[in-house]
């Protein structure tokens, strides 16, 4: 079963859907400009699931908000780049046209459904609105479609629940409603930003399973932004690791976990305790020293260098380009001046424990 799944996940063919080119976002704040996104470029294909991993300040959320025209301007501004979605540059579109794409061909789900849903409107009103605006459906048709959508996201007794308000739903159900809204107009791209972070682990498991099923049914591409490496491992075709507004590593999911090439990726993987390992003979957790950089004063060169035990003098002076990692899977890109596999091989045996080959 898992073998079948991994092959159809690994294929991920399709034409380019989203092409992000050298995106730069700056926030003009008191005490200096915050360089939140510093030249991010990648391509997402139709039907592909991209998992983006990063911590606060990595630019993972800001860059998608910027491409959807959702950052407050000012203080935010797009300092450069293009975001081509089906050939159109989203950054160059007037707000009126962008609004037609948002919630239409691009659906999105954010972390906190309680603040994304309008507490004063019934669920039906909130699902119907985009259907009428984007698809021009009649009130009756939109309501019928809203009911189908609640069925689709497995909310029991959908017909009766349409006229309830968000507070009458549990946290997991509200997130399902958000997904229903995100999928309402059959988007080609669904963006989920920490969509399960606030949920209990069993509810998260249900939502992840649901999204997987919907993807099989509807075939949309997904950008799944999270800090949870476990969720990313299960649903992604491609994984992208971001830090300080840059992509430090990107590649096929199996390659990223089995053969990480950037020290930050390796540090994140090593710092996770193993659920299957008992207390006997355990060691201190591997810890990444230091704190994420202050993006008002980003360090010169590779932004992770100050926290990286493998950093070379060149890392501290010059930002490495994101390029094919030598000897790695095709499409496995890394930004690093050092050769991580060689450095790891030189460490004491067992140092790579916890990174199981795939």
């Amino acid at each position: 079963m898992s073998a079948d799944m991994s092959t159809d996940i690994a294929e991920a063919p399709g034409a380019p859907l989203l092409d992000v080119r050298d995106l730069r976002v700056v926030f003009d704040a008191e005490g200096g400009a915050v360089h939140a996104v510093n030249g991010v470029s990648y391509t997402l294909r139709e039907g592909e699931t991209l998992g983006i991993v990063g911590e606060s300040g990595s630019g993972k959320s800001v860059h998608v908000l910027a491409m959807l025209g959702l950052i407050p301007r000012p203080p935010g501004r797009i300092a450069g780049g293009q975001v081509l979605f089906e050939g159109e540059d989203l950054l160059a579109l007037p707000e009126r046209r962008l609004r037609r794409i948002r919630g239409g061909r691009i659906g999105f789900v954010f972390q906190d459904p309680m603040s994304s849903l309008n507490p004063g409107m019934t669920v039906a009103q909130q699902i119907v609105e985009p259907l009428r605006i984007h698809l021009g459906l009649s009130a009756r048709a939109a309501r019928a479609r809203a009911r189908e959508l609640l069925d689709l996201v497995r909310i029991p007794n959908a017909a009766a629940r349409l006229d309830q308000y968000p507070h009458e739903f549990s946290g997991g159900q509200r997130q399902r409603v958000m997904i229903a809204i995100g999928l309402a107009c059959r988007p080609k791209l669904l963006i989920a930003d920490e969509a399960t972070t606030a949920l209990d682990v069993t509810v998260q498991a249900e939502i992840v399973a649901l999204v997987q099923e919907l993807k099989r049914e509807l075939g949309m591409a997904i950008i799944w932004i999270t800090h949870d490496l476990g969720v990313v491992a299960g649903i992604s075709d491609t994984v992208q690791v971001m830090y300080a507004g840059r992509i430090l590593e990107r590649g096929p999911v199996d390659a990223i976990f089995a053969d990480p090439r950037n020290a930050y990726t390796l540090g994140l993987l090593r710092s996770l305790p193993d659920l299957g390992r008992g207390r006997a003979g355990r060691q201190r957790l591997h810890q990444i020293e230091g704190s994420p950089p202050d993006m008002r004063h980003p360090p010169p060169g590779d932004p992770f260098a100050p926290r990286n035990a493998y950093a070379t003098p060149r890392c501290r002076a010059e930002m490495p380009p994101l390029a094919q990692a030598p000897g790695a899977a095709p499409g496995h890109l890394v930004a690093a001046w050092y050769d991580l596999p060689a450095l790891i091989a030189g460490e004491r045996p067992g140092a790579r424990e916890g990174l199981r080959p795939c």
Binding site: M1, E55, V201, T202, A233
Partner: protein, 307 residues
Amino acid sequence: MLMSTAPAPAAPILSVRNLSKHYPLRAWWGGKASVFRAVEDVSFEIRPGETLGLVGESGSGKSTIGRAVTMLNPPTSGTVAFEGTDLAGLGAREMRRMRARIQTVFQDPYAALNPRMSAGDYVAEVFRLHRPAMGRGERRAAVAGLFERVGLDPRFMGRYPHQFSGGQRQRICIARAIALKPSFIVADEPIAALDVSIQAQVVNLLQDLQEELGLSYLFISHDLRMVRYLCHRVAVLWRGRIVELADSDQLYEDPRHPYTRRLLSAVPLPDPVAERARLAVAGAESFGEGRPGDLVAVAPGHWVADG
């Protein structure tokens, strides 16, 4: 035997018996007043130097128990004995003395800190309250020592909370928590608000402090991976009751209650092959919807609710 990895039995530092916390619900006209049973008849012990993990989903009563055993929000019924003294029977003055021995570290360090007080003053405050005889220089030296102990540069004592990162702020809170040499700390989701790269730092610090100071922890968390790593024993809460309590290895390797199994099987694995296989077979194990029953022993030290 099964319990070979458990710490040697010793008199418990904390003994919780039949703890319940109820909140009255407003009655409608003509209706009967009822109560919300946030925590119902919970009993457990924590031994010196031991970490007991408390896991469960939001609303299961984890934090309510944490606040009840520290008397921040005293229980409706039941006893909480700390080092042999029943906390509910203490007067305000004795309780204040006891607070030096029982500390709490919360999820959001920024909310815990006073934005107008420098980090050094915030830590020094506990000395002013509990050690009024301490001189200024002595206090300053003690705070500097605490800063070093939790991995903060003492030169940062004059800085304000907004000048620190999230992980550093949690270190400040930990410095204050250990200032009076407590023997027991309730850590309520202490890493949940921290970045992944910072979580391991804080967990390692908590562990180092446990070894050095002989601390006992009640570690409240929804991070089941970290709980297995850090905790000697684990209690699983569901709907305000403990449904399973066991040695950590035993609980994770041989979970007996259907809810524990459901919880553990929902944890995503940071390994694509294993995680895809897990997702492919994932299905919720169904179990009764009523309140869980009383705990019965299924093995030495392994307790499971029947029903």
